[in-house]
């Protein structure tokens, strides 16, 4: 079931949590709402679920807020009737009920006419316990479970009523790093099996990029960019997205003849986008692994001095000092590093193979 929200605004007092957001989530996809805390992602999720109401007082000239689930407008529909599965950040398991009763809850509170029989409920709960690989935990209380197990119970409970949309608020936020990794893979696999349209909120860019079909980057209540993880990582539309997704070097320069000129009069061969006109200051974003390091002079190469080298890990991480005292993080393979035969303190040349250029006056 597709989700379409249009012109959603939500204020808490003077604070604008969500600022005129419109968004379409295609059927069957796993979508991440990614942003720093306070960016409005959780509020947007709660508005889709019906746990918060969007502000109705639109400003002049703005269209009215609307939420469509599978094409039907649900703004006036009660939370209970939206057919949504919601996984809360801290799971919100009913702590006086066993795991079995937690999962059965949504079925037990159905109106008598549509409520499954006791046998059917037990069957559905056992099926979900199996799907979540927690078969043996049905009789436990939530307090007797680990964080990862609670997460699975919360998910099973949300799926019990076969919702057409699954919303997850920071699903891995309360777990430690190791458990997180495992659950992340498992959730992706689960989604590939059951194909329910899912939206999850996260502040962890790695999680969003690894897990989601599409990522919506939010900042200050607005959508900065929306696209596949690949698009966002390689073609960030705004400086915010460039900085938020992954490691990145920020270098200042200015534009001349459509090219960026850096300190030390180094010209980069890359064309500046149309909106960055000649003579303007520019921000250049360069990812550490997109920098070529050489011991000898390179055309378009920045002269740098190597400060620190970290060899532990799959790649070699070099911290270098460029002209104008800008530090530059460079990542290269262990093979390449051995070839270069460089040491901390040595002079070298760094050439960006790819760069994203934004005008400097862009507010972040």
């Amino acid at each position: 079931m597709s989700i379409r929200v249009s012109n959603i605004t939500k204020r808490f007092g003077r604070f604008i949590a969500v600022d005129d957001v419109s968004l379409t989530i295609p059927d069957g996809q796993l979508v991440a709402l990614l942003g720093p805390s306070g960016s409005g992602k959780s509020t947007l999720l709660r508005i889709i679920a019906g746990l918060e109401q969007p502000d109705t007082m639109g400003e002049k000239g703005k269209a009215a807020a609307a939420i469509h689930l599978a094409g039907a407008e649900v703004s006036a529909t009660k939370v209970a009737e939206r057919g949504i599965g919601f996984v809360f950040q801290h799971y919100a398991l009913f702590r006086h009920m066993t795991v079995f009763e937690n999962i059965a809850f949504g079925l037990r509170v159905m109106p008598r006419a549509t409520r499954p029989t006791k046998g059917e409920i037990a069957e559905r709960v056992n099926e979900l316990l199996g799907l979540m690989q927690i078969d043996s935990l049905g009789g436990r209380l939530p307090s007797q479970l680990s964080g990862g197990q609670r997460q699975r119970v919360a998910l099973a409970r949300a799926l019990a009523t076969k919702p057409s949309v699954l919303l997850l608020d920071e699903p891995f936020g309360a777990l430690d790093a190791k458990v997180r990794q495992g659950l992340r893979k498992w959730l992706r696999k689960l989604h590939d099996e059951i194909h329910v349209t899912s939206v999850f909120v996260t502040h962890d860019q790695e999680e969003a990029l690894e897990l989601a079909d599409r990522v919506v980057v939010m900042n200050r209540g607005r959508i900065e960019q929306e696209g596949t993880p690949d698009e966002l990582f390689h073609r960030p539309a705004t400086p915010f997205v460039a900085e938020f997704l992954g490691q990145v070097n920020l270098i200042k320069g200015h534009i001349h003849n459509g090219h960026a000129i850096l300190a030390g009069n180094v010209t980069l061969p890359h064309n500046a986008p149309g909106l960055v006109t000649d003579g303007r200051q520019a921000r250049l974003y360069i990812r550490p692994h997109e920098i070529e390091l050489s011991a000898t002079a390179l055309s378009h190469g920045l002269p740098v001095r190597l400060l620190r080298v970290r060899l532990a890990g799959p790649t070699v991480k070099v911290e270098a000092l460029g002209p104008d005292s800008q530090t530059l993080d460079i990542e290269l393979s262990h093979d390449r590093w051995r070839q270069l035969n460089l040491n901390p303190g040595d002079e070298a040349f760094a050439r960006p193979s790819d760069v994203r250029i934004f005008p400097d006056d862009y507010a972040i």
């Binding site: 019906g50 919601f86 919100a92 398991l93 949300a158």
Partner: protein, 293 residues
């Protein structure tokens, strides 16, 4: 703070520890145990027969019945009011929330005598609604309704005060989860909220009941002290005492004291059960804290 405590506490000399403990025990003995023992000794001083007669004479039985009746009306009502008030204050943010919170504490802040006077002022013969009530032959002051009203007023805070911190600590998430899962408001309350607050509620009800049965000041003002009719047990004790009928007064007082002891035991049992049930500690900590009030 904790550093300070852990550094000094275990190193206190035996002398200090023993003298502190002894001080507390002497104090407790003088001010709590001794009076209680005196009540029982006085009550039984004139012999078991006198004791039995004093508590089974018609006026005493009537007072006992009235006390139970008043509690039986006031406590369930306050249970409902208390849950409603706690729910509203703990789960919602609204204008006037602070004021409501203060109002709930009002009965604890004003003297019970004043609480009683308020009702006389409102419903008494010369009160605001007095003439209107008299025309319709409705008796409130110097009758059961007045006693019940005064008792409700005085005991109002106990349930709400017990529940508000508990419900605030538990937050809204479980209720929201129930709503998203399709539960109605009533289903959410019965299946999720109530089981989560049941120990706190029971605790509040016990305290509320103890106060309802023991209330003297407010009830004294509105009751009229009509023997065998509008006398509750505490009022009956006072009358007997004023009549120098010491043995009977202490016999009835010992009944009240016993009600108090039963309350204490019930409180202990509930507290222990709650600690067993509330695994995550939120509820039991609050319950344990509640006892200090």
């Amino acid at each position: 703070m904790s550093n300070f405590a852990s550094r000094t506490a275990p190193r206190e000399s035996a002398l200090v520890r023993w003298s502190l403990t002894a001080g507390v025990l002497v104090f407790l003995g003088l001010f709590l145990v001794l009076p209680l023992a005196a009540v029982i000794a006085e009550a039984l001083g004139a012999g078991l027969r006198v004791y039995w007669e004093s508590i089974t004479e018609p006026d005493a039985l009537s007072a006992l019945r009235l006390t139970f009746l008043v509690a039986a009306i006031a406590v369930p009502l306050n249970m409902v009011f208390g849950v409603c008030a706690a729910w509203a204050i703990a789960k919602f943010r609204f204008r006037g929330r602070g004021l409501l919170l203060t109002l709930i504490d009002l009965p604890l802040a004003v003297s019970p005598v004043v609480s009683g006077m308020v009702y006389v002022l409102l419903f008494g013969l010369h009160g605001w609604f007095g003439p209107w009530l008299r025309e319709r032959d409705i008796e409130i002051i110097f009758a059961l309704p007045g006693i019940v009203l005064a008792t409700i007023f005085v005991t109002f805070p106990y349930v709400a005060r017990e529940l508000i911190p508990l419900m605030e600590a538990q937050g809204n998430e479980q209720e929201e989860a129930a709503l998203v899962l399709g539960a109605s408001g009533l289903q959410t309350f019965v299946r999720v909220t109530l089981p989560n607050i049941k120990w706190g509620l029971l605790y509040g009800v016990i305290l509320c009941n103890a106060r309802a049965m023991g209330e003297f000041g407010a009830v004294s003002v509105v009751s009229g002290h009509i023997r065998g009719k509008t006398n509750t047990l505490p009022l009956h004790v006072e009358i007997l005492y004023n009549e120098y009928n010491t043995a009977a007064a202490f016999a009835c007082a010992s009944l009240l004291a016993m009600l108090g002891l039963v309350t204490l035991v019930a409180k202990q049992v509930v507290g222990r059960l709650a600690r067993g049930a509330q695994d995550d500690g939120v509820g039991s900590e609050l319950l344990a804290g509640g006892g200090a009030r």
